[in-house]
Subunit: 514 residues, 2 copies
Amino acid sequence: MAAAPVWSVDPRTGKPREQVAVEATAEEVDREVRRAHATRPALADRTARAALLRTAADLLDESGAYLIEAADAETALGPVRLTGELARTTAQLRAFAEVVDEGSFLDVRIDHADGDRTPPWPDLRRWKVPLGVVAVYSASNFPFAFSVPGGDTASALAAGCPVVVKAHPDHPATSEICAATLRRAAAQVGLPEDVVVLVHGFEAGVDLVRHPLVAGAGFTGSVRGGRALFDAAAARPTPIPFHGELGSLNPVVITGAAAAERAEQLGAGLAGSMTLGEGQFCTKPGFVLVPAGDAGDSLLKSLTTAVSETEPGVMLDHRMRDAFVAGVRERAELPDVDAPITPGAGGEHTVSAGYLTVPARRLAADGPHDLLLEECFGPVTVVARYDSDAEIGAVLARLPGNLTATLHLADGEAEDADSGAARLLAELTPLAGRVLVNGWPTGVAVAPAQQHGGPYPASTSTSTSVGATAIERWLRPVTYQSTPAALLPPELRDDNPAGLPRRVDGRAEHATAP
Amino acid sequence: MAAAPVWSVDPRTGKPREQVAVEATAEEVDREVRRAHATRPALADRTARAALLRTAADLLDESGAYLIEAADAETALGPVRLTGELARTTAQLRAFAEVVDEGSFLDVRIDHADGDRTPPWPDLRRWKVPLGVVAVYSASNFPFAFSVPGGDTASALAAGCPVVVKAHPDHPATSEICAATLRRAAAQVGLPEDVVVLVHGFEAGVDLVRHPLVAGAGFTGSVRGGRALFDAAAARPTPIPFHGELGSLNPVVITGAAAAERAEQLGAGLAGSMTLGEGQFCTKPGFVLVPAGDAGDSLLKSLTTAVSETEPGVMLDHRMRDAFVAGVRERAELPDVDAPITPGAGGEHTVSAGYLTVPARRLAADGPHDLLLEECFGPVTVVARYDSDAEIGAVLARLPGNLTATLHLADGEAEDADSGAARLLAELTPLAGRVLVNGWPTGVAVAPAQQHGGPYPASTSTSTSVGATAIERWLRPVTYQSTPAALLPPELRDDNPAGLPRRVDGRAEHATAP
């Protein structure tokens, strides 16, 4: 049987551009995993890992123009967005190099022997070691930041784990160039190139999560695809951690006072956030609670104006475009659902933005309107009009988990104990990993305190895929008991030659290294 | 249908002692979970949680004699062991109170807004919040330390999660007393009693892990039972974290030099560790690599002598006793397996300790001898005799994951680069969560740096069930973005009124509270 070809496709025309690769067979997946697995001893060197991450960032920046052109041809995301995404991706690689150098991710804890305890404590020294080979499933909508050189790869390499990336079929050529760049970076710092390998193909992705030498997986994509892989990971003879980001509605609550204060600004802000990148952000505000009445009407008027001014755009591929058109149509046909601006097919290859409205009371109990509480990928949002704070609470209680939840307040509401703001924040917090006040959820800063993850289906775990703590996903603790100093890694010795931050006998010790 | 009775049984006679309770129906499980769920707001108070843990410890200590008598009648573990176990359990509750007070488990990270970044960073403040109701599955072999008042319950309460405990059928009366004590402690500190509730019954345990309001589970028990619950947790519409400790062989490697140096001491030490508590410790050394030849022969001679001197004992229940007798028989019938002292039935209600030997080369490839690489609960260990270091490596590479792995070295071997000690330690580290040198794995200090957990099937996750970091299992991170100080929890405000240790703008800040 001939190997299945992998084509790069132009989403602006739907036409194939070039054959990039072939889909990996089970044997090829096995070979690539073993190649990656063999690099673990080399990756144990933290200095080399930090150098790899920085060199990879430098090489990606150097090839910026070429990479952006390649990604734009496959994704239609446009050079402005892709330039920003690449900058964010290389910044993320450098941020993880700093995490590696700083060393607190090793979570070193030392308890010296204590004979006064009953029973006596032996000498215990704990740190974290890499899990092993990590499978990374690339996302369609971020060809850099959540794909080959993205956060999963960066955090896994930072942890000391080799990576096998499953390319996304929407950008196979970009994936090949990025993988080659990462491999070149490895060679430049004296690491084996196979610290990163790339495979293509749906079946290859399934083979990968089942491979006995794969010790963990990171995924960004759909609920359907992610859940299938999560289930496969859990069903293995030896289950492995599966950190998947599957889907999110990103609810927004706009108080009556906020709508009364700045209806126009809120309508325009919502339009900008929900249409950004053709509504293909995982943090797109897909569900907005807006008060019934005049202030809410004004907000929608502003929203209509702003959305009307957006041009039809190209989605990442034609399958997504068709799913968007069908998904919007199905939602619009529900009773009491209106479409002040009908989202849908813009042209043969494009889509046009729009939004739907529904009375919030329609969503307070099980029924066909539950479809409106499922993510619809693309430039559409659902506006639920509420009559009372109780209605807000009833709807929020029915929402699945989310990456983000947003609250818009009027000036002074935060400080006013009678405004209900504290209660609304308390209702939003259980729904999401990131809670925003007076902002829009699109745009995820790559900062140490970031949390990009939330209750299922936002994530299949309690972890984050962005920010410093994303590295924790690829580590496991090991404690050495009564182990002679000569056999301990330097990080666990009393003299702490690397100057790491540690907890010794229950007390935090700061880093002493520069 | 009448409710199924739950009987307390005397393992020394196999006879029922008293009916303690009835098995919970699905409706009753639902009611108990909802009761526990309703206590979440009260448990959000960290001061109250710390007080609950300390008061629970005090009340358990006060009832010590009564509790130990109750537990001994159901488990036959004996007052000496149970006295130690209760002391360890109350120390663990107090240790988690300190964890709550100290506050580093909240992992507070603050990144102030930074307009100089591209794109600008908003203000981000991250901490960890409780998951929700935690289901705790009690262990047979630790009626206190891994049951109702054990580490899972203590760490979940410390995290702010209410607990629904599924009692183990081997000690239902002890479970009832302990649960009542914990509920009394809650009332004394002004918390609702339902922060801890108790259910009995196998089906109740299954209903529990499937309940929509249960947000996480902790389990200590068998591979079979634990895997079934793990699978149920993963198959839920909304999967939940399942932290299970399922089984462990706890391999021990004794170098030729160590055997030559102290054969007698090692044989006696091994006998003590493998027969401790009738071999019913999850950290029992169940597989020991001993050199072929004279030194190893001397070690076994000492082992034989010491094991011969142990009295027959009573296991936790008759089902376990029968499984032990059958398991030993099946292993002993394998080709090339000898039983210098045949373990097995000691009397109608007892078992006698023993051990099996096998040439290590029998275990270097797939075959019927793989049975020897599965845990056999009870006072038996398998001694594999090796001819070379290569044989050790070949066998270790075939072992499943473990809680512990142990290396016995002769004096000076640790410091001798040619001894092979470093290589052996490197081969043992991937196998376990705790690696010991020159000790025995039974006995798990409740210390901050402890790691009780390891690669599957030792654990179904990368967490620990003992030690300060066990609390991490029951938390998830939430980041507040651009949130007015008036709406932030005090822990996330700039003035840090609780004096918590935090990371602010990437730098660690020590605790300032007393």
